[in-house]
Subunit: 355 residues, 2 copies
């Protein structure tokens, strides 16, 4: 076994042991940048209660395991004040960009979803008003009612000053490339509001292959669901229709960077493929940005950096589900220049989210 | 746009234009290795006929687009002689390792599948006897009858001298980690026969999310299907039960290398995850090898090389679906040492397939 793989295995062991014990701690680093974390999760008690009620009433609609949270996770998610800020200080995070916990309000009926989205946005805006240096936030919307979703996006961005919108992937097993959701894409482009496409448990059409070994979860299903959603957008022509639309993917781009050359080659060389004005890789480089959330691993960072460039990568953690101290310790020590780290930690988020 | 991305876009354009025109040609390279291509596709007329009959009789069982082939592709697939060898010479391929075209015989009834597997193996062994320097081959089996599949694997490897077995992923929407297929895994381990896990159109449980934009195809569905199959194997404990079992994945590992750290971290840190003796990345490094088929792209090669090491990567093309001259031209010029290229072109295949 050569050094590279030894290092990989050691790093993996390091991450695992850190997760288990919290032993390790970021080294002191003098930095001239602000550490912004771009995929940090919150929710509000009303949404947690509504999810519990929905699961009790209609378990097929929301797989129960989607809403089983350890009590300390629930507490961390709804804390928009001192506890969250204390954990940020511990990990030297200057600012969290908050987005609602998957599946957001996308599993509720239209009117309940819209009401809860408004409540979540008001609550988030209030937390940001109280801690403007520490929090920014992404709007919650209920895509199941596209017209109301557009109105709420406008209110959240224009009136409340939120910095983007987070959509927890499919809504009732439907995807944003489908025509009924184009009004949302159109409004996002018009408002210059990036859409953070966050994973959730895969839709009914994929779920059956993922019931064993908890494959539906963040272990595997989240990634293939979010990446499938992204590929649908790439192949659908929505970036020809909305050329300034910006999509953000967590988890280092949900695997898409790995597949870019194949997407380009197959879409351009096989009969019967969909026709778009540009290649999938061109849309991906032009219209997407990616976040490091929960992928604190040098090889994949280096790979994505080589493919997309430093200005398309943002730092993010996936708090409270991934350990913040491991994340900052990793990024502080990453094999990149200070200038690149400043882009990844700070400047890209400032630009993309208009902070 | 910095140089890296310019290079990427130029390379992508290069590959596309080469596909379109066949203009480019590998530079003359003095090499001290044999060029072996490890994922090269063939079929026999009887299987093509049986597929057509099945599609006509039961279109839901095999989506028709799975068997629509351009006539020149059909001719290339069934050619086990002069035409194939001529194309190899043109691309400077010394040896092809042949495996049956997806979905193989896995869509037929048990007895028809078993008979066609025997016929394909006899035909392949005969072609290898006629051209022992140019061809090696992987056995076809019909996993839908596990006992017969084991018998045929033994016959093909022991009596016919084939070099492994190729399974076109799911069989009737079932995966090899399911207990009914463990006899096949057990026999493969006992025979020291690697299993090439080749993609096919996703199973019914995933297909519904992939009907638009031909996503079910090599464009996207092949990759998430084969990778899901591989993750099932990683999480199921089969490598604890069969520690010497070897699995080969094409398309640079079907995305799994990208996800290794996430598989490790999530499986070791979340409640309710399956328990295996080792981490997913350890099984992947120990029990898997990957092939470059149809992924002729330096960034992903460099990434996989850094994660897995050169001894886990084999050269392969996916003839006739990907262009052989582009593939050898790319690998000849890849940013690796001659020693690594010798491993990837030759030595790994010799070792893994007992050539």
């Amino acid at each position: 076994m050569d050094n590279t793989r030894r290092t990989f295995l050691r790093d993996a062991a390091l991450i695992s042991s850190t997760l288990a014990t919290g032993r390790l701690w970021a080294q002191d680093t003098e930095s001239d940048f602000t550490r912004i974390a771009a995929e940090e999760t919150f929710t509000i008690p009303e949404v947690l209660e509504a999810l519990s009620e929905l699961v009790a009433r209609d378990p097929d609609r929301v797989p129960p395991h989607a809403t089983i949270l350890e009590p300390e996770m629930s507490s961390a998610l709804v804390d928009l004040g001192a506890g969250r800020i204390s954990s940020m200080d511990e990990a030297r995070i200057d600012k969290q960009i908050l987005g609602i916990w998957s599946p957001g309000v996308q599993v509720f009926g239209s009117s309940q979803g819209t009401e809860l989205a408004q409540l979540a946005n008001d609550r988030l805006a209030e937390a940001i008003r109280q801690h403007p240096d520490r929090f920014a936030g992404l709007a919650t919307i209920a895509p199941q009612d596209p017209d109301s979703a557009v109105q709420e996006m406008e209110r959240a961005v224009v009136d409340l000053g939120l910095n983007g919108v987070l959509i927890n992937s499919h809504t009732n097993n439907e995807f944003l490339d489908q025509r009924q959701y184009w009004a949302i894409l159109e409004a996002a482009e018009a408002l210059e509001t990036p859409i953070y496409l966050h994973p959730r448990i895969p839709p009914a059409q994929m779920y059956g292959a993922l019931t064993d070994y908890t494959l539906y979860s963040a272990l595997w299903g989240f990634g293939i669901e979010a990446s499938t959603h992204a590929v649908r957008l790439l192949m659908s022509g929505v970036f020809d229709e909305f050329p300034r639309l910006k999509i953000i993917l967590g988890h280092m781009g949900e695997g898409i960077p790995f597949w870019l050359s194949r997407l380009d080659v197959i879409s351009s060389s096989r009969p019967g493929m969909p026709t778009t004005a540009r290649r999938p890789s061109e849309y991906f480089i032009e219209n997407f940005a990616i976040v490091t959330s929960a992928m604190f691993w040098d090889p994949v960072l280096t790979f994505c950096h080589s493919v997309l460039g430093p200005e398309k990568i943002m730092f993010g953690i996936d708090y409270p589900f991934a350990p913040s101290t491991v994340a900052t310790r990793w990024m502080d020590a990453a094999p990149l220049s200070q200038a690149d780290k400043r882009m990844i930690y700070q400047e890209n988020a400032e630009r993309i989210f208009s902070l």
